[in-house]
């Protein structure tokens, strides 16, 4: 006996609820844009330049105490974050604009040991520095990578589905922009909920590009079924074909997204602080990518075609 999560004859009216979900998504996207403009992402050292110093203390201490101890070094603005499991006494200190970079590790170690004395010995485990210009270049290249990936995916889908309608490309691009905005908005939100929030570094950018790839893959599955059904049911209206295609692919959508989300959830909970921003990006991205394939990509095609069958399939039907 096979396990059947979704009945083969399931018929949920996804397309009928499109106005509500498009309005909801538009509101979320607008909120994300406002968050990105007025709050902004918590860029990692990769993108803004500066130094990250990982410290290990013998005994517990606090971020505020570390900041005070490093104040005399005149290293610019310092962010100190508790890092690692309880009892490890590890901290990450970030310096966004290091004024005097030379011998940073030794100067920090010496300043902290002087401040704490023998009561709490400190060890600088790691120092990593990225120059401000390199950071700016990486940030520009990163956004370019997201934009180029989105545009080329849209062109690819438009070409692949040109036989049905060119609007599938537009639907995919709008769905991808929606996904990127929701994910980046969620990253900014993490900054408001639990400052300094999740880091947006090169690993997070790689996760964002993966989300784009996953989302477009999901959109293609639904669009491909729409193309097949449009050819088979030549007299059926487009919204009905679209709804049928979404229902037919629902089992596959839930199973693939569900298994991916299970893995990502364990990565999010158990992967540690370094992997958390990327795991969070992928987790939110896969949820929103699955949602946008159903409620964004399809409705865009419907709006574009005015609810009628695309001309090419309509011509074949006649």
């Amino acid at each position: 006996m096979s396990l059947q999560l979704i009945k083969p004859d399931i018929n949920i009216d996804f397309v009928g609820k499109r106005f509500f979900f498009v309005t909801l998504s538009t509101a979320i996207n607008l909120a994300s844009i406002l968050l990105l403009i007025f709050v902004g992402l918590n860029y990692g050292v990769d993108f803004v330049g500066g130094s990250v110093v990982q410290l290990k203390f013998d005994r517990p201490t606090s971020g505020e105490r570390i900041r005070q101890a490093l104040g005399s070094l005149d290293l610019g603005e310092i962010t100190v974050q508790d890092f690692g499991a309880a009892g490890q006494n590890q901290f990450l200190a970030r310096f966004e604009t290091v004024k005097n970079i030379g011998s940073l590790g030794r100067r920090i170690e010496s300043a902290l040991n002087q401040s704490y004395g023998d009561s709490n010995k400190v060890q600088v485990l790691r120092v990593e520095t990225v120059g401000a210009k390199v950071g700016r270049d990486l940030r520009r290249d990163g956004f370019l990578a997201v934009a180029v990936a989105t545009i080329f995916m849209g062109i690819y889908i438009a070409l692949q589905f040109r036989g049905v309608s060119w609007s599938f490309g537009a639907g995919a691009v709008i769905a991808l922009i929606h996904d990127v905005l929701v994910v980046t908005g969620a990253l900014v939100l993490s900054r408001l909920i639990d400052p300094p929030g999740l880091n947006f570094d090169l690993t997070t950018l790689a996760a964002l590009l993966t989300v784009i790839g996953y989302s477009v893959h999901d959109t293609i599955i639904v669009s491909d079924r729409i193309r097949e059904d449009a050819a088979k049911r030549r007299r059926e209206p487009l919204d009905s074909i679209m709804n049928r295609a979404i229902n037919e692919t629902l089992s596959r959508t839930i199973l693939t997204s569900g298994t991916a989300l299970t893995v990502l959830l364990s990565l999010l909970l158990l992967g540690g602080p370094i992997l958390r921003p990327a795991a969070f990006t992928l987790f939110i991205g896969i949820i929103t990518g699955t949602y946008s394939s159903i409620y964004i990509a399809g409705p865009v095609v419907l709006f574009w075609e005015g609810g009628k069958r695309p001309r090419s399939t309509a011509a074949r039907a006649a």
Binding site: G84, L104, R107, V124, G272
Partner: protein
């Protein structure tokens, strides 16, 4: 004491980052690998088996001198592994030199 090594990433200094620990199995030295301009530093441990030591209680500086040419050759792999260990496992990498893998000894 600091020993300088030339690498593909520039000049690096090897220093002792913590007091050496001697036990019946050998010696554990904690080394700091720092770029000469100070923009990067990573700490890792080296455990040297007693069977490879010339004297029962060698000075950490002697160990650093012995390890430095080896570290110059194995720089990329060691640096990468040490950074990865601290970043993801939040613990120091431990390089073990024993009869099976004597390294520079």
């Amino acid at each position: 004491m600091a020993v300088e090594i030339r690498t593909g990433r520039g000049l690096y200094r090897i220093t002792s980052a913590a007091a050496a620990q001697v036990d019946t199995n050998g010696i554990v030295v904690t080394l700091g690998l720092e770029r000469a301009d100070g923009i990067e530093r990573v700490v890792f441990r080296c455990r040297v088996s007693r069977a490879l030591l010339d004297t029962p209680n060698p000075a950490p500086d002697a160990i650093i001198l012995r390890i430095s040419p080896w570290l110059e050759r194995e720089f990329e792999v060691t640096r990468e592994a040490a950074i990865k260990s601290i970043r993801t496992d939040r613990k120091l990498l431990e390089v073990v030199f024993d009869r099976a893998h004597p390294g520079p000894f």
